[in-house]
């Protein structure tokens, strides 16, 4: 993969929060929200980041934009080392990397009208009629105040139309809209500064089921029209499958499996991915009745004290003695072999066509699990508190 293709490169990213200890003991062990993640996001593509609550996917999304300060690692956006940037250059770079939030009610200032919400980023980056390209324009005659205001009003209407809202929405306030409409405003706001990368954190999970598809389609349309690159963070694997070109599955601060296209869905390799996919209900009774469900026992361990070796070994139904407990599995690429496909869902018959290149998994026993040499069994419940 050439550097040209990759818009965002993340290497060894860590975000640790100071731990909370007892009253007298001071800080406890740090919470390892994100603990060594490598990712590449190609230009114009969508990377889906999935996992359950507490896996660190949202923290990772924020750390990429430096909304949360990473503890260690490297974030390179289009050749720029984001972590090395001082405050002002970082602020200017934000024009190119935007975020869409889960709850549009919480992420829109309730006091501001839509007009002012959408114009605000334009003001912050000094965007005006003369240059919708450059930042605060230096040199040349400054456009009049009225011209700037007029341009911004027109731009707000343009943005509203882009996300499928009438221009008259500009004079209204966030609480007057439905959830789906608010999320459209949130998206318009992120697009106001014409970014290259948009990180969307659970963009549809707060919306009504019948509205989710509208927003998913809108995100896809916008990507096509504006050539956007997405990182979509979600717990809903079906939505992620639909929207993503590549998918990474996270568990307890690390990526346990990643793959391109449908490879990960047709042939999940990591026991966690297998369990996760088998747990997701499918709206089809025929499929549901025939499904083999891999139930996980126990709860997510605390990210302040992650299990040794493979982080998933406390809940893994395929766990093998000592190695899973002692040795940290590295994310390694698995070449496609016959017999590796087909452990996915019933009904998803297609074997991962083409090359499995890019399908990587962090499990010592991935081959054995995939080929059926190891079968899931009951693990004794491991209480985690």
């Amino acid at each position: 993969m050439s550097d040209d293709e990759v818009l965002l490169r993340v290497r060894g990213l860590q975000v640790h929060y100071p731990g909370r200890g007892g009253l007298l003991r001071g800080g406890g062990p740090p919470v390892r929200a994100v603990d060594g993640v490598d990712l590449d996001v190609r230009r114009g593509e969508t990377l889906g980041l999935v996992g359950e609550s507490g896996c660190g996917k949202s923290t990772l999304g924020r750390a990429v934009l430096r909304l949360t300060e990473p503890t260690a690692g490297e974030v390179v956006f289009d050749g720029t080392d984001v972590r090395a940037l001082p405050r002002e250059p970082l602020r200017l770079l934000r024009r190119r990397m935007q975020m869409v939030f889960q709850d549009p009610m919480a992420s829109l200032d309730p006091r501001q009208s839509v007009q002012s919400l959408l114009a605000e980023p334009l003001v912050a980056h000094g965007l005006g009629p003369r240059d919708s390209e450059g930042g605060t324009g230096a040199g040349g005659p400054r456009p009049s105040r009225r011209a700037v205001t007029g341009w911004r009003e027109a731009r707000v209407r343009e943005l509203l139309e882009l996300v499928g809202l009438p221009g008259s929405a500009a004079g209204r306030y966030p609480h007057e809209f439905s959830g789906g409409q608010r999320q459209r405003i949130g998206i318009a706001r992120a697009l106001a500064v014409e970014p290259d990368l948009v990180v969307a954190d659970e963009p549809v999970s707060a919306l009504d089921v019948s509205v989710q598809a509208q927003v998913v389609n809108l995100l896809e349309d916008l990507q096509e029209r504006l050539g956007l690159t997405y990182v979509v963070i979600a717990h809903d694997l079906a939505v992620v499958r639909h929207i993503s070109d590549a998918v990474a599955v996270m568990y307890l601060g690390t990526v346990v499996e990643q793959g391109r296209g449908d490879a990960l869905y047709t042939a999940p390799l990591h026991p966690y991915t297998i369990a996760l996919m088998s747990a997701i209900p499918v709206p089809d009774p025929v499929v549901e009745d025939a499904r083999q469900r891999v139930l996980l026992s126990g709860d997510l361990p605390s990210p302040a004290a992650p299990p040794s070796g493979c982080r998933f070994h406390t809940r893994c139904p395929f766990r093998q003695a000592t190695r899973c407990h002692d040795e940290v599995p590295l994310l390694r690429e698995i070449p496609l072999r016959p017999g590796l496909a087909g452990s996915g869902l019933a009904g998803a018959g297609a074997t991962g066509a083409g090359s499995a290149s890019g399908h990587a998994v962090a499990c010592h026993w991935a081959e054995e699990v995939a080929s059926g040499q190891l079968s899931p069994r009951q693990v004794e419940a491991t209480a985690a508190s």
Binding site: V211, P283, L295, G298
Partner: protein
């Protein structure tokens, strides 16, 4: 709980048919109207409008709908948990012959917890944060069965074990905040099961949980229904959950039932345009990946009053002048091959796809 279980193993084999067994809960023509003072006049909002369904022992009835559909108001009305003022409840809800809507408060309180149990979406706010979970279970046991302190405690330990909480003897002494979300929901279910209720009303019991935990809780609830013959009313917006555990499905939109059918029938032959649209709009984990999703246009707020037209008409691709009538009835599906008990309220039912 075994690690590998066919999801529907204990479920009924073959297409579900309406059971001949008499319903344990029979809701008939339930309406809930909220009244509010607005300036000088009064405004009325009919949140639930003439809803009827039956819940039978050993079966799960799903009440499906999105925000504003009235599904949660229905469950609150059934359990007498609506605020005392500002609303009007009409209709009947016969629970083993008694009308839940008219029984005296004391009798209802007696029924709740003993014969009729509830599980809510958010276990954190339903549990008392300063009381150990064990005590919260023994309270219920002692109130409804008159068991002694020691016996009630044994029962609490047993119940926690039954809902799959490891080391129940230690857990009874812990406080809600010491448990994870999935554990707390198990405790809520344990409390609900404390007196072997005949009916469980579960209002979005897994919405706040992660999928792997959700699978555990759903598994637990359906085992309960299959093995104990409990009747369950499951209120949810998740069609996947419905497909997995329910026997019958009631779909609500803007306060009215728009479609009612046995599970397999509903998913194989959705007839109301809303149900069909909903099924078509959700991305699926199985099967081929479509280029684009097919959303339902508009938002759940775009409704007209049922008294004027089909409330779904503003969002319906098949809506026309014929939909603008106030007397749309929930009638048996007239289409070819309809299963008995398939009711639909639609002028232009969706075509049946041939497999």
């Amino acid at each position: 709980m075994s690690a590998v279980a066919p999801a529907g193993a204990a479920g009924p084999a073959g297409p579900a048919t309406p059971s001949a067994e008499p319903p344990l809960l029979s809701v008939q023509d339930l309406s809930v109207t909220f009244t509010a003072r607005r300036g000088s006049g009064r405004s009325e909002v009919r949140a639930v409008d003439g809803v009827s369904f039956d819940v039978r022992p050993g079966r799960v009835m799903a009440l499906v709908g999105e925000s504003g559909s009235g599904k949660s108001v229905t469950s609150l009305a059934l359990t007498g948990l609506l605020p005392a003022r500002g609303n009007r409840v009409e209709g009947r809800a016969l629970f083993a012959g008694e009308d839940l809507l008219t029984v005296p408060r004391a009798r209802l309180a007696d029924l709740r917890g003993r014969e009729l149990a509830m599980v809510f979406q958010d276990p954190m706010s339903s549990l008392n944060p300063v009381v150990p979970v064990g005590l919260q279970i023994t309270e219920v046991v002692r109130r409804h069965t008159g068991a002694g302190r020691a016996a009630a405690k044994e029962r609490a330990v047993e119940l926690l074990g039954r809902v799959g909480i490891p080391d129940p003897r230690r857990r009874v002494r812990e406080f809600p905040h010491q448990l994870s979300g999935g554990m707390r929901q198990r405790v809520m279910i344990a409390i609900a099961l404390a007196c072997d209720p005949r009916l469980v009303i579960a209002d979005e019991p897994t919405t706040a949980l992660d999928v792997t935990i959700q699978a555990q809780v759903i598994d637990l609830l359906s085992t309960l229904v299959r093995e104990q013959g409990t009747a369950m009313l499951l209120i949810t917006h998740d069609l996947g959950v419905v497909a997995g555990v329910c026997d019958d499905v009631t779909v609500m939109y803007a306060g009215r039932v728009v479609e009612q059918a046995p599970r397999r029938e509903l998913f194989a032959r959705p007839r109301h345009r809303y149900t069909a649209g909903l099924l078509a709009s959700v991305p699926r984990l199985d099967g081929p990946r479509p280029e684009r999703l097919t959303p339902i246009p508009g938002t759940p707020r775009d409704v007209v009053a049922w008294s004027e037209a089909c409330a779904f008409a503003p969002r319906c691709t098949a809506g026309d002048d014929a939909c603008r009538r106030g007397d749309l009835v929930l009638a048996p599906d007239a289409g070819a091959g309809a299963a008995p008990g398939h009711l639909v309220r639609c002028v232009h039912p969706a075509p049946v796809e041939q497999p």
